[in-house]
């Protein structure tokens, strides 16, 4: 117990020192949500649109904001006013930043119980550069949610299926992006709970009731507003990739398109390079429609399902959850680069069994998050925390399994980093090249991890028994 306190204290220190640094618009988003939930009755939460940052997370998160706003009034009353202009003050920053840090205690607790004899792993998670970039500089609440995810996975491994599924339901109603894990949960519960040792309908009913009851309790106050909530949660009109391409299969596709564009049309820029969020057209190759991405996803999930159904037997549930989420990350429609955290953090917990994949995924995942924070004052911090994490990871775990060409590819990252730094920081050029190279580099890396991990998981049976 004492050990985790040391790590926790140090991570608190680092995170609190970052308070006055760069703030993204997400900071204002969350402030606005606090104001909405504080001032308005529950029925109006999902209709309020004074500010452009409307509520677009599911109800549990709204409750969470409501809770935070109750304490916020002690710090600065003004931060709880609904306005379109936005509001900022020292106390607001301090309070909101502190809520992120303290809500992360859930993450610390779940990581602690999960990795008990190997407490040092919790250092890799609590001081994970990706987590710090996204939660503590950019500003989001991923820590608390990934903490709940890990807790749920922990219960699953301890064969407390009901608890696990209830936590997951709550999590799903907190941020719907955790749908990425739903297929894994569904199949795993079916296989290891309902069909063990033979099919038992009573178990399905038990599971169904607990999940439905949880959702009902949470959603009941919003009964009449569910269509409105759904329209907020799943906005239409978003394109295949985000402004900065998440390093998945489509980033490679877009690049290929851009290269062909140069060769065939003799034009430099494609629509995807304009940094827009809307639907765009590919220049040369055929467009990826939602249907195609859905089919690709289906194919990916089929193999994941095959792994879970056939081979996941004695294994940790964590790897099933991770590979499922990673499938969504690879083929999903309009994936954010930040979503990689949902895989890269939990996989650290099983890094003893999958050291290579855990290391590489964290390496590319964290590296791809560099463009998220573009202010000069944070740049050294990004670099140092990335280096510290990478070196300590290699020291704590045996990653001798890395092949030579993989190592060469890793070293190549320094060149990519210099391109990124040179174009964006020094010349202040708005060229897309640095972001492009970053996202291709990480896209290749993560695709490689994904396919080789899937392959090794599916061929596990031949190796082991």
């Amino acid at each position: 117990m004492k050990k985790i306190i040391g790590i926790l204290a140090f991570s608190f220190l680092i995170k609190s020192l970052l308070f006055w640094g760069y703030l993204s618009t997400d900071f204002e988003v969350h402030r606005n949500w606090m104001a909405i939930t504080y001032n308005l009755p529950l029925s109006k939460w999902y209709y309020e649109a004074t500010s452009i940052w409307t509520m677009d997370y599911p109800p549990v998160f709204a409750y969470f904001e409501k809770m935070l706003s109750a304490i916020a009034s002690f710090f600065d009353k003004k931060m709880l006013e609904i306005s379109s202009a936005g509001y900022i003050s020292t106390n607001t920053i301090a309070y909101q930043r502190a809520t992120v840090i303290f809500s992360e205690l859930i993450l610390a607790y779940s990581v602690y119980i999960y990795s008990k004899p190997r407490t040092l792993l919790s250092g890799l998670i609590l001081l994970n550069p990706g987590l710090i970039f996204v939660d503590h500089i950019h500003f989001q609440y991923n820590g608390v949610m990934i903490g709940m995810l890990i807790l749920s996975i922990y219960f699953m491994n301890k064969e407390k299926y009901i608890e696990s599924s209830i936590i997951f339901t709550i999590l799903l109603l907190m941020k719907h992006i955790f749908l990425y894990f739903a297929p894994a949960y569904f199949l795993f519960l079916l296989k290891h709970y309902c069909f063990k040792p033979y099919f038992q309908p009573s178990k399905i009913i038990k599971l169904g009731i607990s999940v439905l009851a949880t959702s009902a309790v949470i959603l009941f106050p919003f009964m009449q507003h569910l269509p409105q909530i759904l329209s907020r949660l799943f906005p239409f009109g978003r394109g295949l990739t985000h402004a900065y391409w998440a390093p998945n299969i489509y980033s490679l596709y877009n690049t290929f398109d851009a290269v062909l564009n140069i060769i065939v049309n003799k034009k430099l820029k494609t629509e995807y390079m304009q940094g827009l969020v809307q639907v765009c057209n590919h220049a040369v190759l055929f467009n990826i429609t939602p249907m195609i991405s859905f089919i690709l996803l289906g194919i990916g999930l089929f193999f994941v399902g095959k792994y879970i159904w056939k081979y996941s037997g004695e294994k940790d549930f964590c790897i099933s959850a991770c590979i499922c989420c990673l499938t969504f990350f690879m083929f999903g429609w309009h994936v954010h680069e930040k979503a990689i955290l949902m895989v890269s953090l939990p996989i650290i917990l099983i890094s003893k069994d999958y050291p290579k994949y855990a290391f590489l995924l964290n390496f590319f995942g964290n590296f791809s998050l560099f463009p998220l924070i573009f202010t000069p004052l944070e740049e050294p911090f990004l670099l140092i925390s990335f280096l510290l994490f990478t070196i300590s990871f290699t020291l704590l775990l045996d990653i001798s399994a890395l092949l030579r060409y993989e190592k060469i590819y890793l070293y190549f990252s320094s060149i990519i980093y210099f391109i990124y730094l040179f174009f964006n920081k020094i010349t202040k050029n708005d060229s897309y090249i640095p972001l492009l190279s970053m996202s291709i580099y990480c896209g290749i890396g993560i695709s490689y991890i994904y396919f080789s991990l899937l392959k090794s998981l599916l061929s596990q049976k031949n190796k082991k028994d």
């Binding site: 306190i5 911090f381 925390s385």
Partner: protein, 639 residues
């Protein structure tokens, strides 16, 4: 020859009989009759520790060879990288034939029981005992992580237009030094208004400013425009300035700390050593002042520390060069000068004595005096030449020299400024010196009082052995006396006495080390409020307190020591922090600041007293601590 062999044999025979008579309680002994090797097995916390002693042919005139094998469940504070030194360190002296095997065995077993402990007490120690080869990198990166996280924090004078603060001072010096020729740097002129942050540090700081200013004028020319760049602040230039501090830290201070630990705590085991080093790097005062408030103290401290390390290695001339660099970077390094003078004399004396032994008794004295003069003039020459090189642009005219010196020692600024935890500030609450005495008298008084407070340490420096330990005591005592009693002291200057005490106390009295660091940070609290670093102050102090607690527990566990209880001191600080919420009465607006200063003064006074007491109590070889000290620290080789 045969006689000799007989002696060997009879001695061995006698010892065998002695050993057979022993009835060991806590170890097992195996010594086959025909063999010249012994094996001793003892159990520490139910894990085995094995010693192998091999008796060479010429025993007892040649020392026995001892090697050691310890269960990996055990660790100790000390670690031997080679078997050569085990015996010497366990005995606390070199081998002499008078020592016999039973006493060797007794000491080995005693050593095993008192230094080996079951593993797994401290987090930091555990982390660093895994991969000690990479530990240096990890330690540096951890320290760097905190420093780079401080980059976006506010600096001094952040919101204070148009006077600004130390950050603007440093930027302004870069501007002045890059745009004007050196002879104008310290002179008031239309281009260089000394009223506005005029250069008041010695030439090396000026050269340092010139160096970074030149880089800055290439990267961001607008930041260095003469006269027009006042108050210049962009995030890219702030980044540049912050990085320049971190670079100085990284290239001067960090290697100096590593060298010191490599030299002085030679046999400290890897895990403990690196966790202690990380504590040194995480001490809030230096981080808050250098990376927060904005100054370049780490360079001066680094040079001074290099000078200390070089004294330990007996490179006296080099140490003088480094001390001169420190002095020419910030005149505050003067706090260290007196102990340096004394140790140079002591070492020169020792060296001369050694040299003169080769000569006939009737000329020994003459040789000795000549040797001493030679060594000392060598040291003085090194220091003076370094200074002259740095002062080249001003050395031409006496006027210029005096101009620089008058900038360095501003007598008119009074005996103290703001609320500082020094004797003069605190006692002036009761006695208004300024109304009673003229300023030159006050300067004299403060000089006298400083001398009186420093003198005991300087005398003890010669009297106490081992010399290296005594030197560290004198450094911490004298510099603290300077801080407490000398003329015109700033609160930031506490960094100077803090450094030697840190290095001294970190193993022997870690609680006191933590207390000193915390109270030094506490004494700067009003400054932190001014700079907007209050939040960083609390975070750094609390985390340092917790992490130091972890290390303290480990160190006490290894040394079988009950810690000192300083809880009430911390309680006092906590109460004063709570008092901040209460509005001070109208007639005393600075009550809170005064309270902080007074409390810190008490704390520093306690440290001063403790330093003096334990310096006095070093008893050389008859001191029970001596053997432990000796194990931890390498004795400097006297050539």
């Amino acid at each position: 020859m045969e006689d000799r062999n007989d002696i060997h044999e009879t001695r061995l025979q006698k010892e065998r009989e002695l050993l057979k008579k022993l009835e060991p309680a806590n170890y097992k002994l195996e010594f086959p009759d025909s063999s010249r090797s012994l094996e001793i097995v003892t159990e520490v916390q139910s894990y085995p520790v094995k010693f192998f002693i091999h008796l060479p042919e010429r025993y007892p005139f040649q020392s026995p060879k001892v090697s050691l094998s310890v269960s990996d469940k055990l660790t100790s504070l000390t670690e031997f990288y080679d078997d050569e030194n085990i015996l010497e360190h366990v005995l606390g002296e070199s081998w002499i034939p008078v020592i016999n095997l039973p006493s060797v065995i007794e000491k080995l077993v005693y050593y095993a029981h008192h230094s080996y402990k079951a593993r797994g007490k401290s987090l930091l120690a555990e982390i660093f005992s895994i991969h000690w080869k990479w530990s240096i990198v990890i330690v540096i990166l951890l320290a760097l992580l905190v420093k780079v996280a401080m980059i976006a924090q506010p600096h001094s004078g952040y919101n204070n237009h148009p006077k600004y603060g130390d950050y603007e001072a440093q930027r302004h010096w870069m501007e002045i030094t890059t745009n004007l020729s050196p002879d104008k740097w310290y002179k008031n002129s239309t281009e260089n208004d000394l009223e506005y942050w005029g250069l008041d540090y010695p030439p090396l700081t000026a050269w340092h400013s010139w160096f970074f200013g030149s880089i800055s004028s290439i990267i961001e020319p607008e930041s260095m425009v003469l006269g027009e760049s006042r108050g210049y602040l962009t995030s890219s230039h702030k980044l540049f300035m912050r990085i320049s501090v971190i670079l100085g830290d990284l290239f001067v201070y960090v290697p100096a700390i590593f060298m010191f630990f490599k030299m002085y705590y030679r046999y400290l085991s890897g895990g403990v050593k690196y966790s202690v080093i990380i504590l040194v790097f995480l001490s809030p005062p230096l981080i808050l002042i250098d990376n927060g408030h904005f100054q370049y103290n780490s360079i001066m401290l680094g040079f001074s520390l290099w000078a200390i390390v070089l004294v330990y290695y007996d490179y006296l001339g080099l140490s003088a060069i480094l001390l001169a660099l420190a002095l020419n970077f910030k005149q505050m390094a003067l706090y260290y000068v007196l102990p340096f003078l004394c140790i140079w004399i002591a070492k020169a004396w020792k060296r001369a004595k050694h040299q003169s032994m080769r000569f006939q008794p009737n000329i020994r004295w003459g040789i000795m005096i000549a040797e001493i003069i030679l060594t000392l003039s060598n040291i003085a020459g090194c220091g003076i030449i370094t200074t002259i090189i740095l002062w080249i642009p001003w050395i031409g005219s006496v006027n210029d020299i005096f101009q620089v010196i008058s900038r360095l020692f501003p007598f008119q600024r009074g005996i103290f400024e703001d609320k500082v935890a020094t004797f003069w500030c605190i006692s002036s609450i009761f006695i208004k010196y300024k109304n009673i005495f003229p300023i030159s008298w006050l300067a004299l008084f403060s000089a006298l009082l400083t001398m009186i407070a420093s003198l005991p340490f300087l005398i003890l420096l010669f009297k106490r052995k081992p010399l290296n330990l005594s030197f560290l005591y004198a450094l911490s005592g004298v510099s603290l006396s300077f801080f407490l009693f000398s003329y015109h002291v700033h609160e930031k200057t506490i960094l100077i006495p803090l450094l030697p005490f840190t290095l001294l106390a970190i193993i022997d009295t870690p609680e006191l080390f933590r207390f000193y660091v915390i109270i030094a940070t506490f004494s700067m609290y009003p400054l932190m409020i001014k700079d907007g670093l209050r939040f960083a102050y609390f975070c750094l102090s609390i985390v340092f307190y917790i992490m130091a607690g972890d290390v303290i527990k480990t160190l006490n566990y290894f040394q079988d020591r009950k810690g000192m209880n300083l809880g009430f001191w911390y309680l006092g600080m906590l109460i004063i922090h709570l008092l901040e919420f209460i509005e001070p009465p109208q007639q005393y607006p600075y009550l809170f600041e005064t309270l902080v200063a007074a409390y810190s003064f008490l704390g520093f006074g306690y440290i001063w007293w403790f330093t003096l007491k334990s310096h006095y109590q070093i008893k050389g070889e008859s001191d029970p601590r001596y053997h432990l000290e000796n194990r931890l620290r390498k004795k400097a080789k006297m050539s």
